[in-house]
Symmetry: D2
Subunit: 91 residues, 4 copies
Amino acid sequence: MSEEQQALIRRLRSIEGHVRGVERMVEEGQYCIDIIHQTQAIKRALDKLEHELLSNHLASCVTTAMRSEDVNERERVIGELLEVFDAKNKI
Amino acid sequence: MSEEQQALIRRLRSIEGHVRGVERMVEEGQYCIDIIHQTQAIKRALDKLEHELLSNHLASCVTTAMRSEDVNERERVIGELLEVFDAKNKI
Amino acid sequence: MSEEQQALIRRLRSIEGHVRGVERMVEEGQYCIDIIHQTQAIKRALDKLEHELLSNHLASCVTTAMRSEDVNERERVIGELLEVFDAKNKI
Amino acid sequence: MSEEQQALIRRLRSIEGHVRGVERMVEEGQYCIDIIHQTQAIKRALDKLEHELLSNHLASCVTTAMRSEDVNERERVIGELLEVFDAKNKI
């Protein structure tokens, strides 16, 4: 695996551990608001992971597609970026 | 554990499995955009979990606090709700 | 009008002026990314306005409903709060 | 003005009218939750406007920059896209 992949795996393992921590909080009957704070923190960790994924994607696949002479390919990567952006906005 | 707790645990186990699925996608070098779609799906699953947590919280702790004569306690639960709301908005 | 209403109106007038500013930017053909930064700033101003509206709502209508003996009324305000929360999450 | 600019201006005028509608709701002392529903609708209209702006941006400025031989220019547009994406996530 590349260094980038290993860094992503480390982030994902940490998120997985965070989810298991929330399972324990629920089992122990901890305070709802404290649990919600943790699920919000997990979503922020996923946001940071998506930043890394998108950063790699723009520097590799998008740059290659944009520099090709294949107009369909260029439109495809643009469409995918807009879709990811809309999912944030959940338009 | 109560039925509510068991339902939350089931949701969390499913989220945990989803995160492990994303780890495999990264290891296998799958397409960035497909991986981002999965992390966005995990965030939506966390949103639904927070809905359940908040619903339980409003029907139990918030209702009890609001019906008590303790003004500080009422202000405390209101402050917590605003804080959860702001984290969504990330004000 | 109450002081609270006047404060909300001031915020809304400022947001309205901000939107007109973005219209000018579009007319002048300014850079897309600079325009997007402004629309994102307007959404943050709306987030803060919603915080004020929700804060007033929790301290008045919600507190009154929760302290009433009318169970339907209590369930109604809880349902409305969850709906506002879900719109954030756009579940 | 181009047709694209005119379409954006129409959307912005409609948003401006929507904000003025919310001002009237506040003046008339309408129900908080009804007002919040309107501010959430305004944010969704801004999300759609940003989609249009970003779509134009990707098809014009980003494509041009990506196809140029200027590596700094390519890195600049990638950095801007990540920044817009992060503002959604508010990382």
